[in-house]
C-alpha cells in the first residue's frame, strides 16, 4: 500500500516538473474540439447537444491513450522497471500507484476539455457537473486499470505506439458504450440512477481486480 502511495506521489511530482504528458493530452483534446467544429460546421444547438456525449468520449478515449502510453516510458531509463519489480510487497500495489497517477492526470485533462467544449459550443454542462464527474470517474478507473496493465506490456515491445491502441481499444468498448449512454442521459437532463452507472461500476471493479492480480507476471523479467 505504501508502494502505491509512493509511486503516486513520485509520478505526480515528475509530471509537475516536466508536464509533458498533461500538456500533450490537453493540446490534443482542445485540437479535437476545434476539429469537431469543422467536421460538422452547420449544426443546430440541438444537434450539438445530441452529439456532445459521443464527441466528448471520443476525445477522452484518444487523449487517455496518449497519456497512458507514456505511463512507463520514464521507467525505461536506467532500467527503473527492474527496480520497480524489486520493490518490496505485492506488485499489485505498483499497479495501483501507477493507475492512480494516470487517473489524476487524465481526470484533470478531461475536466478542462469539458469546460472548453462547453464554452466553445454553448452546451450548458453546469447542472450535470456532479453526475457527469461520477460517470467519467468510474469510466476512468476502468480505462486506467486495463491501460496501466497493457501499457506495462506494450512499452517493452516493438511498435509500442501502435500496439497499445490495438490492445486497449477492444477492451475499452464496453466502458465507452456504458459511459456514453450514462453521459447522454445526464447531459440530457435526466437524473443519474444506479441502473445507469451499474455497468460502469461492474466493469471498473472487474478491470481493477484483473489489473491488480495480473500485474505481477508483467514485471517478471
Amino acid at each position: 500500500m505504501n508502494v502505491a502511495l509512493a509511486l503516486l506521489w513520485k509520478d505526480l511530482l515528475c509530471e509537475w516538473r516536466s508536464r509533458d504528458r498533461v500538456v500533450a493530452m490537453i493540446v490534443f483534446s482542445i485540437l479535437v474540439v476545434v476539429v469537431f467544429q469543422f467536421a460538422w460546421p452547420d449544426r443546430s444547438d440541438e444537434q450539438t447537444l445530441a452529439l456532445a456525449p459521443g464527441v466528448l468520449w471520443v476525445i477522452y478515449l484518444f487523449a487517455a491513450l496518449l497519456g497512458i502510453g507514456r505511463t512507463f516510458t520514464a521507467e525505461l531509463e536506467n532500467d527503473a522497471m527492474t527496480a520497480l519489480a524489486l520493490a518490496p510487497g505485492t506488485r499489485g500495489w505498483i499497479f495501483a500507484g501507477k493507475a492512480a497517477a494516470s487517473l489524476v492526470l487524465i481526470g484533470g485533462v478531461q475536466a478542462l476539455t469539458a469546460a472548453v467544449f462547453a464554452l466553445f459550443f454553448r452546451v450548458d454542462l453546469a447542472p450535470a457537473i456532479g453526475a457527469l464527474a461520477l460517470v467519467v470517474g468510474l469510466a476512468d478507473v476502468a480505462i486506467c486499470s486495463v491501460g496501466t496493465l497493457f501499457s506495462a506490456m506494450s512499452v517493452r515491445s516493438r511498435f509500442r505506439e501502435v500496439l497499445l491502441p490495438v490492445l486497449l481499444i477492444p477492451s475499452l468498448i464496453p466502458v465507452l458504450a456504458a459511459a456514453v449512454q450514462a453521459s447522454a442521459a445526464v447531459i440530457g437532463g435526466e437524473k443519474l440512477t444506479l441502473a445507469a452507472v451499474q455497468p460502469l461500476i461492474v466493469i471498473a471493479g472487474i478491470y481493477a481486480v484483473l489489473g491488480f492480480l495480473l500485474f505481477d507476471p508483467v514485471l517478471d523479467d
Partner: protein, 236 residues
C-alpha cells in the same frame, strides 16, 4: 536431440484419430447438406446454417482454450501450455474470420439487400472478439523474447476471455439491434434440417480439434528444432 519428447503435446495417435474421424465425416456431411431440404422462404441461402453457427462455437472455443492454456502457463510456467495457447488463438482466428465472412453473405440473403452488416449484438460481439484475437497475435509478434512473449500473451488471453461475457452484457444493455434468433432450439429447425445441422456441428468440431492438435504439435516441433539448432530463430 535434446528437449522434451513430443508426447508433451497430444499423443500422435490421438491427432491421427481426429484426422481420420474428420476425413470420414466430411463426405457424409457434404452429402447430407446437399440432400437437406431447400428452405421455402430463404431458398438455397439457408444452407449456410450448416456452416455458420458451428463456426461460431469454434471461434469461442478457441478463445477459451487460449485463456485456460495461458492461465496454466502463468501458473506452471510450462512452455507447452503457451504453445497450446497459440494454437487456440490461431485456429480460433480462422473460425472467427470464416464466421465473419459467412455471416454477411447469409445476412444479405435473409435480411434483405443492403443488409451486409447490421450492428446486431452478436455480430458486434464477434467483431470485437476478432479484434481481440488480432491484438493477441500482434502482441505475440511485437514482443521480444520467447518467455516474455508467452507471459504477456497469457495475460492478454485472460483479459480477452473476460471480455466476451462483459461485451455481450453491455451491448445487450445499451440496446444493440437483435437480429439473430435468441436460441436455436430444436423446434425452430424445419423438417429434415436437424440432422445436417447436428452433423455440421460435429464435423466442424472435429475440424477444430484436429487443427488445434496439429498446430500445437507444430509449435512444439518448432521449439524443439530451435533448441537443437543454434538458438532460437525468428520464424515470423
Amino acid at each position: 536431440m535434446t528437449g522434451r519428447p513430443s508426447s508433451a503435446g497430444i499423443p500422435g495417435a490421438v491427432t491421427r484419430g481426429l484426422g481420420w474421424a474428420l476425413a470420414l465425416l466430411l463426405p457424409v456431411y457434404g452429402w447430407i447438406v446437399y440432400q437437406a431440404p431447400i428452405d421455402s422462404v430463404q431458398g438455397i441461402m439457408q444452407k449456410i446454417l450448416y456452416v455458420h453457427p458451428p463456426l461460431a462455437y469454434g471461434a469461442y472455443l478457441g478463445f477459451v482454450v487460449t485463456a485456460i492454456a495461458g492461465g496454466l502457463f502463468l501458473w506452471r510456467g510450462a512452455e507447452r501450455h503457451d504453445q497450446l495457447a497459440v494454437a487456440g488463438a490461431e485456429v480460433g482466428t480462422l473460425f472467427c474470420t470464416l464466421m465473419l465472412v459467412t455471416g454477411p453473405i447469409w445476412a444479405r440473403g435473409a435480411w434483405g439487400p443492403g443488409n451486409w452488416w447490421v450492428w446486431d449484438a452478436r455480430l458486434t460481439l464477434t467483431l470485437l472478439l476478432w479484434f481481440v484475437y488480432l491484438a493477441y497475435l500482434l502482441l505475440r509478434s511485437f514482443t521480444e523474447g520467447d518467455e516474455r512473449t508467452a507471459r504477456f500473451a497469457s495475460i492478454y488471453g485472460i483479459v480477452g476471455v473476460v471480455l466476451i461475457p462483459l461485451n455481450y452484457w453491455i451491448i445487450d444493455l445499451v440496446g444493440g439491434r437483435a437480429q439473430h434468433p435468441e436460441n436455436i432450439e430444436r423446434g425452430s429447425l424445419g423438417e429434415g434440417m436437424g440432422m445436417p445441422f447436428l452433423l455440421g456441428n460435429l464435423t466442424l468440431f472435429f475440424a477444430f480439434a484436429y487443427l488445434l492438435a496439429l498446430r500445437w504439435e507444430t509449435a512444439i516441433l518448432q521449439s524443439l528444432a530451435d533448441a537443437a539448432g543454434d538458438g532460437p530463430a525468428d520464424h515470423r
